[in-house]
Subunit: 430 residues, 2 copies
Amino acid sequence: MKIAINPQKTQWREILKRPQVNQQQLSEIVSQIFDEVGRDGDKAVKKYTHFFDRVDVEDLLVAQAEIDRAVNQIDGELKEAILKAKENIEIFHKAQMPEVKRIETSPGVYCWQEMRGIEKVGLYVPGGSAPLFSTVLMLAIPARIAGCEEIVLCTPPNKDGTVNPAILFAAAICGVDKVIKTGGIQAVAAFTYGTESIPQVYKVVGPGNQYVTAAKLYAQLKGMAIDMPAGPSELMVVADESSIADFVAADLLSQAEHGTDSQVICLLTKEKLLNPIKTAVLSQLEDLPRKSIAQEALENARFLVVEDFHQRIEIINEYAAEHLILAVKDPEVYVPKIKNAGSVFIGNNSPESVGDYASGTNHTLPTNGFAKAYSGVNLNTFCKQITFQELSTEGLENIAPIVEKMAEAEGLYAHKKAVSIRVSQKVTVI
Amino acid sequence: MKIAINPQKTQWREILKRPQVNQQQLSEIVSQIFDEVGRDGDKAVKKYTHFFDRVDVEDLLVAQAEIDRAVNQIDGELKEAILKAKENIEIFHKAQMPEVKRIETSPGVYCWQEMRGIEKVGLYVPGGSAPLFSTVLMLAIPARIAGCEEIVLCTPPNKDGTVNPAILFAAAICGVDKVIKTGGIQAVAAFTYGTESIPQVYKVVGPGNQYVTAAKLYAQLKGMAIDMPAGPSELMVVADESSIADFVAADLLSQAEHGTDSQVICLLTKEKLLNPIKTAVLSQLEDLPRKSIAQEALENARFLVVEDFHQRIEIINEYAAEHLILAVKDPEVYVPKIKNAGSVFIGNNSPESVGDYASGTNHTLPTNGFAKAYSGVNLNTFCKQITFQELSTEGLENIAPIVEKMAEAEGLYAHKKAVSIRVSQKVTVI
C-alpha cells in the first residue's frame, strides 16, 4: 500500500499512474494470427486455441445438447438469481431506448433520428480464473434489446473442452444465437474475417486481457467497430467520516481479488480514517479464498488523504476511475462535479458488487482512464442512429437561399443547383 | 456509368464494391510522423505542413487579429446564411440531449445515466479544393452543446499561410477555443501527443482524406478515441415513377462534384426511368464549374434497375450508403426497413445538399459501409454517459441474495462479502 497525505498537485500524475502495457510487443503476434485466421479459418482458430489454452476443440460451435445439459445442470437458486439479475439489467437498459423526436428546425423542415440495432455483433466473454457468466448478461441483454439480429459469443473453453454451464445458461436465456469455444486473439480475428464456424460481425464488444485488447485495436484497422479498449479493472473509493471502515475495506478487497493487476485507490477526506480502514482490510483479507491475488494487488493500492474538496474532485476526474464509490455524507455535492468515471456507487448501501451483478447498470466499463472519452457498454453500444429529413415545398423554399449561398461560397455549384432546380420548378416529370 | 438491370444476387457484391484504399502502404509514413511529432512537437508539425501543403507557417495558432479580420471580411449575406444554418443545426442537436431518467430497477435500487461532455476534443476540418466551413458548424455546434470544455480545430492552411475567412468566422461564432493551421497526419499526431501550440485531446472528430483516416486509426492504438473511420463521400438515390429526372440528376451530380473518388449509385424501380435521368445528368453536367471532377466520378457511377421491392431494400442495406435519397412515392414503406444508412432524405423536396448545410442534421457521416456499425456525428459523439446507482437499505437487502449467489458461483468471495457485511450490520463506525 502506498500512502500520500495531501500530496502536491505536481505529484498527482505519478501517484495516479497506471501500469503501462506495451502493446507494441503484441502487434507482431496479433497480425500473424489475424493473417492465419483470415487464410485458414477454423483450422487456424483451433490451432491457436490449442496453443494458448491447451485445449483441442473438435467443434468450435457449442452444440444444442451441451446447452441443454448446462441448463439442467445449474442449481435452482443460481438460476433464480441469474433470472432476477437479468430482469433488473433489462429494466435499466430498456429505459435507455430513445424516443423518436421529429423536430421542425425551420418551418416545413422536419429532422429526426431513428435507432437501429447493429445487425451482427460479436460478444467476448473472458475465461480465466472465474467463469464470468455475469458478463454474458451485461453484453447479450442490451444487444437483444437493441434489436441486433445475429448475436455471436466467443469464450475460451475449459481444459476439458466444455464451456462453463452458467455461461451457457446465461447465453440461452438472453437469446445469444451462437456460442463459440474460442477466446483470445483468434476469436477477435474470426469475428473480423469470419470462418466456417464463426460468422463475421460488424462490432466486437466485451472485456478481455491485453491480448484481446491488442486484437480489438488491430481489428479496427481492418474495419471492425469495437466498444472500447480495455485494461485491468479498477476502483476508487472516496470516504469521509460518514463511511464505515468495514464496508470500505470490503469494497477495496472486492476489487483487489479480480487480479494481481487490479487497481485500488482509496481517497480519504481525513488522515484519521486511514488506520481503521487499513486494519479492516488486513483483517478481512485473511478469510479470502483469493487472498494471494488480493494481497498482490493491494501492494499497488494507493491510500490518499486529500482534505481540500476541490482537489478531491480534481483527482477523481484526473484518475477517471472505472468504478467510483462515493461513501460520503454529501454525495449530491460530488455528483454534478464528476466528469470522468465509468459507473458511480453512491452511499454506504451501494457496493461495487451490486453493479457487477444485479442493480441493473452495466459492468463492462472504461478502464485505464478511458472514461475521459468513452461510456461503458449501454444500449447505444449496440445501436446506430440514422438521421432522416423530410422537407415540404415551403420548407425547401425557406432554407433554399441559405443552402445556395453556402454552397456557392464553398465552390460547390452542383450542390447549389440541387436546390435551385427544385425551387425554380422548371421540371420534367418522367 | 455502369448499368445493371435486375442483377442476380450473386452479382451484388461486385456491383456495390467500393474502391479499396491500401491502408498498409500508409502505415509506415504515419508511424514516422507520429514519432517525430511526439518528439519534436511544433517543429515536426511545421516540417510536415511544409512537406505536404507546401506552406511555411510561422505561428500554428491562428491569432485573434486574423479571426477579427476574417469576421469583417465575410459578406453580410453569407454571414446571415451561416447564422441561419447554425440555428437549425443547434435546434436539431439540442433536441438530442437525453433527459436523466432515474429508474427503480428493484424496490429501493435506483439507477440512472448522466451525460457529460468530453473535456477536450479535436475537430478536423479538411482543406483541399473547397473551403469546408460548413464542416466547422457540424463539428463545433454539437461539441459546444455537449459541454466540451476545450475545443481545438485543426485545418490545413491556404498556400499563403492563412485560413479561409469563412472557416474562421464559423469557428468564432461556434465557440471554438483554438484554430490551428495544420492538417493531415501531423494534425492528428499533434492532437494525440500535444505540442507547444496544440493541446492534447481525448477524441478527434471530423472527416478527412485517406491520410487523415490512416492517422486517426493509428491514433487509436495510442489511446485516442475517434468518431469513425472515413472514406470518400457517397450517395445512393432510390427513384420511382414519382421522382423527377432533373432532381435526381442534380442530386447525383452534387455528389459527383465532391471528388473524382465520389461514389454515386442510382437505384431505379423501372428500366424506363434510366434514360430520362441519364439525359438530365449529361445535360446538367455541361454547366458545372467542377465538370471534370464530376465527369470522372460519374464514370464509376452505377445505375441499377431492381424491380423487386424486397431486393431493393436488401441492396440499400447491403450498400449502407452515407447519404440515401428516397425519391419515391411511398417512403413510409421504406423507412422502417432501412437498417444501414448515414442520413436519409425523403421525397422530392429533400436533396442531399439541404443536409450538407442547413436542414439541421449533421453532414459528418459514416462512409464506406461503416453505416453498418457507426452513427454519423451527433451530440453523443461528444459525450459520455456515466451510470449511477444508489441503494436504500431495503434495496440492498432485496438484491443481496442475488449478488451473493452469483458472486459465489463466479468464485469471487470478496464480492459476496461486500454485500454480506452490509446486510449483517455488524459494523464498526470510524
